[in-house]
């Protein structure tokens, strides 16, 4: 097991390095001489300053050496400097990371729980009106653009009935502490997390339903039935447990989509996470920050993939760690 983890971590590091190299190429593709752009962002573009910048960031050196400097910087968690925000990129990202983790993990938990629940119900009552209703809703949620769901949520729950706040992480000037603050943040969290989770909920619902119907037909289910086990036990212990394997795989595959969805959700709800940071960087054409967020997002996906891989192996004892 340890060697498996070591192997996977090594593979992840290699992929991350490749992403960093890709990032470097993308920075060079960005329009304009980086030094001139940086000087412009800093508000002074005279020749001396541009030359200084060029030397400071090694832009006068040959490309392979520049790449080396860039990679070395990233290894020491130096993602460059954002002139627009006047702060190191890594500092900006670290400040925003907890909010994004809170949002994505909540959305993930909601979507997985509800998706499995609805999928199980639909499979259990396959062919009835309940199944049809769940299937149709899943199809519609699956086709809705995330940004539109977010706006419809605001229209419904903030404008029409005024139940939930439409933006932010907590009430501005609320100065809540302790439990009251938790409640306040939770209120702000519900709508973004539900919005982000809806698409994935639809996916997991469809997947769970299909997978359960497939497992149901297998021989060991017949055996269990022949043994006289109750229907509830068969559904829970035999069908559901086996049916969940592809769902876990899908959850791993979707981690990248989840991060992408966070960019949209955080933008609409003004949620102070790295997705919103990416949008701000985009508006201001702050390429250092934009690509810094991109590297961190990729790293998050790699870590998430590693975790789902481990979970998958724990859930399914047939897969050996050695492979």
């Amino acid at each position: 097991m340890l060697s498996f983890i070591a192997q996977r971590v090594l593979k992840g590091v290699i992929v991350l390095l490749a992403i960093v190299v890709l990032n470097f190429v993308l920075i060079r593709l960005a329009p304009g001489d980086p030094a001139v752009v940086m000087a412009g962002e800093a508000g002074a573009s005279d020749q001396v300053f541009v030359k200084q910048l060029r030397e400071k960031f090694g832009l006068d050196k040959p490309l392979p050496e520049q790449l080396f400097i860039y990679v070395k910087g990233i290894v020491t968690l130096d993602l460059g400097f954002s002139f627009r925000q006047q702060a190191p990129v890594s500092k900006l990202i670290l400040e925003r990371l907890p909010a994004t983790l809170l949002l994505t993990l909540t959305a993930f938990a909601i979507s997985l729980t509800l998706g499995i629940l609805f999928g199980t119900c639909a499979a259990r009552f396959a062919g009835t009106w309940l199944d049809t209703a769940v299937t149709i809703f899943a199809l519609i949620f699956y086709a809705m653009p995330l940004f539109w769901v977010a706006l419809m949520g605001i229209l419904l729950f903030s404008v029409t009935v005024d139940w939930l706040p439409s933006f932010g992480y907590e009430t501005v000037g609320g100065n809540y502490t302790g439990f009251a603050r938790v409640i306040d943040v939770a209120k702000h969290l519900i709508m973004p997390a539900m919005t982000l989770g809806l698409f994935f909920m639809a996916t997991y619902t469809r997947m769970t339903r299909a997978s359960m119907l497939e497992v149901k037909r297998l021989d060991f289910v017949k055996t269990a039935r022949a043994k006289g086990l109750s229907d509830a036990v068969i559904q829970r212990r035999h069908v559901l447990r086996n049916a969940l394997l592809p769902v876990v795989t899908l959850a791993g595959v979707h981690s990248g989509t989840l991060i992408g969805g966070a960019v949209i959700t955080e933008t609409v709800f003004a949620w102070p996470g790295i997705g919103r940071l990416m949008y701000d960087a985009l508006l201001q054409r702050d390429y250092n920050l934009l690509l810094g967020v991109f590297v961190i997002c990729s790293a998050m996906v790699l870590i998430f993939n590693l975790i789902t891989d481990l979970v998958y192996r724990l859930v399914d004892p047939r897969i050996e760690f050695a492979s």
Binding site: V15, A18, I19, L22, L26, L29, A30, P31, A126, L139, I140, Y142, A143, M144, P145, L146, F147, W148, L151, M152, I154, L155, V159, A210, L213, E214, S255, G256, T257, I259, G260, G261, V263, I264, T267, V268, M278, Y279, L282, L283, R285, Y287, L290, L291, V293, F294, C297, S298, V301, L302, N305
Partner: protein
Amino acid sequence: MLRSPSGVIGLIILLLAISIAVFGPMLFPNSPWRMVQRPFLPPFTLSAVPLGTDALGRDVFAGMIFGARVSLLVGLVSTFVALVLGVPIGAMAGYFGGKVDDALMRFTEFFQTIPSFALAIVLVAILQPSIYSIVASIAVVSWPPVARLVRGEVLSLRTREYVQAAVVTGQSNTWIILREILPNALSPVIVLASLMVATAILLESSLSFLGLGDPNLISWGYMVGAGRTVIRQAWWITVFPGVAILISVLGLNLIGEGLNDALNPRLSREGR
């Protein structure tokens, strides 16, 4: 395909959307950029502007008609480009196996690991927003599943007798891949492609929503994005274009399901 009700509904929706995209602008020549009425005119008040106007007095209905062009065009073209990238990579990996397979699959996995929407944002931002950069970046983030699918199909087809017969008769590798193997691997690719068009439309609208659309073309995502700030005063500016996206994507997903039922009878409808 015509036997599955969902496939038929999907096909009707798609044909409708295509005819709106092709003929709509001829029947409703109102430019979606021109001011036609007072700003914030609610929908269903004037028959000339049935869906009302936006913050600048532009016709929402005209925007939706013209937006259909962008959405469908980007969806279809970027899927086509993704196929052009993914099919050869998958076919080569599956056919040649060994080191070629290893190298190509690591390359594919690499692109699959990168969060696709984030990469699309970065690419469009760096290449500057235009219809070309949007198509290119959507294609770049969506080819890996194609390569993997084609590789799997080719792997299983490679050992078939008719392929070996072609090898024995001395046909070239290219000929065998193009004439013997790929035609038989087509049906799952068609299913995947129809779902990819749907995803591409969603991606395009999300990019436009964030302000990364082609500044010269009106699109549904752009309209929702522009209406976002005035949603409290004018719900219709965001609601209608979103419904258009929802319906087109739903139609394509239904077609994908219908095609899947028709082309892969192994996976019976019960199993889906």
